[in-house]
Structure formats: C-alpha cells, structure tokens
C-alpha cells in the first residue's frame, strides 16, 4: 500500500514537471484574442514597478516584463529571434542601428497624444530625424564625478591625464564611454570612425592606464562614495546617486561631452503593436513620468512633469492629487528642489555642445579591437 502510494505520488510529480514544460506555450493559440498581452523588455531597475500594476489595472492588458543589462545584450536577444518583445528602451546609437536594419516599426503617433507633453529638445535627434520610431524616456550626460576635497579644481578631460591624481582616477569600463574623453581631448568627435584617429585615442588611453585606479561601470559610484578615488567618468544618474551617499561629491560635464537619450521603441516583429502604443502613451502621462523619475533619478524629457516640481507653479496638494499620494510625501518631493539640481536638470548651455552617440556601423569592430588590445596590454 505504502509502496503504491509512493508510486502514485512520484507519477503525479513527474506529470506536474512535464506539464510545467508547456506552460510557456499558453497564450500562443486561440486565447490571444481573449486576453490582451504586452511584452516589455527594459533595462534592469528602469521603472517604478508599481506603474506596471497600474497599467494592468487601468487597461486589463497583462504585461510580461523582462530586463537586460546592456544595449548589446538587448540587441542579441532581439536579433536571435527567440522571444517576442513589444516595447524596448534602447539608447540612441542602438535605435539608429535597429532602424538601419529594419528591425523597428513606425509608431502610430495619433495613438500617443501624450507625446505632445515632451520637450522638443529631445525630438528629431540624429538617430530618428523625422520622429517616426522613438519616444524619448530618459536622458542624461556623461561627465566627471569628483570629490571636492581631493580635487581643488573643476576637472576637465585633461585632468584625467594629470599625474597629480595617479591612482585616484576611475575610468569607464565601457568601450565608447572610455574612448569619449580621449577623442574629445584630441578634438575629434565621439563618433569618430577614422582608424588613424582612433589609434591616437588608443595611445592616449594606454598612456593614462598607469594613473587609473580601476576601470568600472556600476561600481564607480560606490568606489567614489567610499572615497577610494578622486575622479570618475560616470553618467549623470550615477553621479546623482553618489551625491546622495557622500556630501563631497561634485559633478561636472566637460565642455564637449556626450548627451544620452534612452527611448521607447516598438520592434517590427512585435505581436501586440496596439497595446504597445497604449503603453507608450501611458508612460508619457505626467503622473507616470513623475513616479518613474522619482524612483530612478534620471531626468525626464517631459516638460509638463517639470511644472509639478516647480514650487512656483504647483503646491503639495496638486502634486499629491496627481500622484495619488499623501501631501506629506508630495511636500517632501517639492522640498528636494529637484529642478535646481544641476546633475538632474543642467542648464541647456551645459549640454548644448554635447554630442549624442551614433551607430558606428563597421567602425564598431575597430573600437572593440582597440579596447580589447588596451585591456589586454594593461599589467
């Protein structure tokens, strides 16, 4: 008796295990029409998760949410065709590449009325000159985070090559962000494709190597906050977080730097384009923009949202009504005076002469080869 019970139990388990293999297939067949679905593929930690619940509640559309770490990883997953995504959040150069390769669908802007709430500064950019494919989501700058007690000047790119700071400089471990300071110092574009010019930049980076404390991407923020280094090449988002951890953090965008914009796009292969438009429109709604921005600490391209952060144009009551939160929280948000935060919302003159990254095409391979060489030569 005991024996057969065990057999039945194990049989049940095996069946359950086998059945679980097929759960991923649900929704592929007839049920698609009955239940509306949307597959969102986003950077890790790149929205306020409660916003997804809100979207599901308001529209009844079920969201399948997955995340990636880098543009390249997103590209690999998209192009290998294993899964279907409906909304992506790539950066400018990746959007350009996706457009070139016909991997993006044109957006139906008649269904995204909230697009009008976004600032024109971030529209019609070089990667999408006719505003057909992308709706900007966040933006920021590449700059130098420094410790104002350890550095007594306002750093420029040249400072990163100053012997005085030997062993105190953190460089980016990401190819393009590492090349940008060198290229800008040489007076070239950060989208330079000439192999000879790139070689000059490589030599410069090799010269810098003995001064470098470490090559980091995400760890740069913590290392700076712990005061293990004096200067670091980081994005504005990291600078803001570091500033929250250590009061001596200062951030400057050197005169010629990089401006980045991450946008929402819909891949040509998307199966739920209608739902995707609805989602993008939702994401541009002012209350959602503010929720995401307060969670992430990245600047928003929404002009409308800024009004709700300006104490002269709004008050805690209005903000709490918009965000559906307590007035105390709204007051806290207003007290932070985010609009005057130079890391989050720099003066337009700061980013006016910044360049955005464009797709390098064939030259990508040159950058990669040179960077691999640099990293392999350091010892």
């Amino acid at each position: 008796m005991k024996h057969s019970l065990r057999k039945i139990l194990s049989l049940c388990l095996v069946l359950a295990l086998a059945a679980s293999l097929f759960t991923g297939c649900a929704g592929g067949g007839n049920s698609k029409r009955e239940k509306r679905e949307l597959s969102v593929f986003n950077w890790g930690d790149y929205l306020d998760m409660s916003v997804l619940d809100q979207f599901e509640k308001e529209t009844g559309i079920h969201i399948v949410y997955s995340v990636y770490e880098t543009n390249e990883e997103m590209y690999l997953k998209l192009s290998s065709g294993g899964s279907n995504y409906d909304v992506l959040f790539p950066s400018e150069y990746m959007i350009e590449r996706l457009i070139k390769e016909n991997r993006l669908a044109k957006l139906d802007f008649s269904r995204i009325p909230n697009y009008g709430l976004l600032s024109d500064v971030f529209k019609g950019m070089a990667y999408d000159p006719n505003n057909e494919y992308a709706v900007p989501y966040t933006w920021g700058t590449l700059g130098i985070l420094y410790n104002d007690q350890m550095v007594d000047e306002v750093p420029t790119w040249e400072t990163l090559w100053n012997e005085k700071y030997k062993g105190e400089i953190i460089m980016s471990d990401s190819v393009r962000d590492a090349f940008t300071p060198a290229l800008k110092m040489l007076g070239y574009s950060c989208n330079e494709k000439d192999p000879a010019h790139l070689n000059e930049a490589k030599e410069l980076l090799l010269q810098q190597a003995p001064l470098v404390y470490g090559y980091y991407v995400d760890e740069a923020r913590d290392q700076m906050a712990m005061e293990n280094a004096a200067l670091a090449v980081v994005f504005s988002g990291d600078a803001l977080e570091a500033a929250g951890l250590n009061e001596h953090m200062a951030y400057v965008v050197p005169e010629y730097s990089n401006l980045w914009v991450d946008s929402m796009v819909v891949p040509a292969s998307a199966e739920h384009k209608d739902e995707a438009m609805e989602f993008i429109n939702f994401m541009c709604r002012t209350d959602i923009v503010l929720k995401n921005m307060l969670e992430l600490g990245y600047s928003t391209p929404s002009q409308d949202a800024l009004k709700y952060l300006d104490p002269e144009q709004t008050d805690a009551a209005a903000l709490s009504k918009l965000l559906d939160c307590t007035e105390e929280y709204a007051q806290e948000v207003l007290d932070e005076e985010l609009l005057t935060n130079e890391i989050l919302f720099p003066d337009e003159s700061v980013y006016a002469n910044c360049e955005i990254y464009l797709d390098l095409g064939e030259a990508n391979a040159i950058y990669d080869a040179l960077w691999t060489e640099i990293k392999a030569s350091i010892r």
Partner: protein, 286 residues
C-alpha cells in the same frame, strides 16, 4: 571448490538497466557535446558566414598580446592553485586528525552558503583604500596598503573562494586511509615523519589531484574575480572571452580563444594526471 559469480563486472550492465543511462546520454549530448560543437563551428566562422582562420590568426599575431595574456592567466591560476595546496594540505591534515572535524568543516564551508558574487564583492569593502583593513591598520598606527585592483588582490580572491575545493577532497582521501596502516608503519619502526612521507602522503595523492583540478579549472577560466578585485586592470583571458560574447559581439574570436584555452588546460591536466595512475584512483572527487 565454490566460486561465486561476481555480482558486478566492470563494463557489463544487465540489458534491462542500460536504458537508465539514456537521460545521462541525452544530457551529455545536449549540454556538453553540442555546445562544444557550436564553439568549434563559431571559431572558424568569418562575419559573412564562410570558413576562416582569421580568429586564430588574430590570437597568434597582434604583437603576442593575447598569447601573453593566455600565459599570464595560466600562471596566475597555477600560482593560486599552489598557494591553495600549500595552505589546504596542512589544514586538511589537521582536520583529518581532529575528533570534532565535522564541526570544523561546517564552520569552514559556512561562508560558501552565501552567494559567491556577494562574498567576492565584500572584499572590495575590506581592501579598498578606505576599507576595513586600512582602517584597522591606521588604528594601530600602521601605514595603509593599496592592494585592491592589483594582481595580489586577484590571487587573494581566488584563494579565498577556491580553498574549500582544495581542502575537502584532500580531507576526504586522508580520512579514508586505514589507521592500521599508520600503526603498522609505526610498529615497523618508522618515525612519524617517515610514516607521513611513505604512507600518508602517497595515499592522499588522489585527493591532491582532485583538489588541484577543482581549484585550477575555475581559477583559470574565471572572469568575475579579476573584474571585481582587479578593477579591470588585471583582466584574465576569461574577461577577454566574456567581452567578445557579451560586449563586442565577436563570437569567432571568443570561440577561438576558448578553444586554445581548452587545449592548454587539457595539456596541463594531462601533465598533472601522471599521478592519477590506476592504483591511486580511489579517493578522487568528493
């Protein structure tokens, strides 16, 4: 004369039991043979999809940067393995002679219950310029040291993470030694030192061999430890391979490097395995 038939003969399994091996066979094909074939295929692929030896040419040209990196990674792994052995053998020996060894082993592997990445990351806080170690040093008036983002930090990270993989197999094979052998050696007049050299050490060699491979293999291929504790300045071959796949999308070059690394590891294992002769084969992997 009565001679009973041996219950099991090596190499022959009752027909009815053969099918039990099918899952293993499928697993090996799916997750060992196929991936190897894919790596092999990719290594000889040029971007347009044709056959090419360019990836290998790149490894061997480029001013020898990559060969140098390959060798220095191998050397770093050998160094870490040797230090693990020097620390691990005495430790295993002490443990094997200790009555409450199981408690000590538990204490020893307790940190391993925590995530590997987290454990390595915590060294950043310990070794940093203003880290715990330097704070302690300054407290007792010693000058601070800066070893984070240098080669010693990477070696330290390897030893910290992989030492248990050296200790446990050695402990295991030491534990299996019949105590009467040691007693016999003493009865026959051998000193303790001689007993160790002539009895204990030779019998524990299979464990040493397992320990070496279990430390050397992850050490030579790791990319997490050098990227965390080396700060991108002590990149090993694993980092270069990783970036070929995840960042620069040059699968051919990454595959070629992996293949060459595999060949080198194979040669290394062959060289060490001369101790692993038939009569020594017990003990082995834990």
């Amino acid at each position: 004369m009565k001679k009973s038939k041996p219950r099991y003969r090596a190499g022959s399994i009752a027909d009815g039991q053969k099918f039990m091996a099918i899952p293993l066979l499928l697993w090996s094909i799916m997750f060992i043979l196929l991936p190897l074939a894919v790596v092999l295929y990719n290594a000889f692929l040029d971007p347009s999809g044709g056959f090419s030896l360019d990836a290998f040419r790149k490894v061997f040209s480029s001013d020898g940067i990559y060969l140098h990196l390959l060798l220095s990674s191998l050397w770093l792994a050998v160094e870490s393995t040797l230090i693990c052995l020097l620390l691990g053998y005495p430790l295993a020996y002490i443990l094997s002679r200790h009555a409450s060894a199981s408690v000590m082993i538990l204490v020893f592997i307790l940190p391993m219950w925590m995530n590997f990445l987290l454990r390595t990351y915590s060294w950043l806080a310990i070794l940093g310029k203003n880290g715990i170690l330097n704070s302690l040093f300054s407290l007792i008036g010693l000058p601070g040291i800066n070893i984070l983002n240098t080669r010693p930090a990477v070696v330290l990270g390897m030893i910290y993470n992989f030492l248990p993989f050296m200790v446990l197999p050695i402990y295991n094979s030491l534990n299996k030694i019949d105590p009467s052998l040691i007693e016999a050696s003493g009865d026959l007049g051998a000193s303790e030192g001689k007993t160790f050299l002539k009895v204990v050490l030779p019998l524990s060699i299979p464990g040493v061999y397992s320990g070496i491979s279990m430390v050397f293999l992850p050490a030579v291929t790791t990319f997490v430890i050098p990227s965390l504790l080396g700060g991108g300045k002590v990149d090993m071959i694993g980092n270069i391979i990783e970036s070929q796949f995840l960042k620069t999308n040059n699968w051919a070059f990454g595959s070629a490097l992996s293949l060459i690394l595999m060949v080198l590891i194979f040669a290394f294992m062959k060289a060490t395995s001369k101790y692993n002769t038939e009569e020594n084969e017990r003990g082995g992997l834990i």
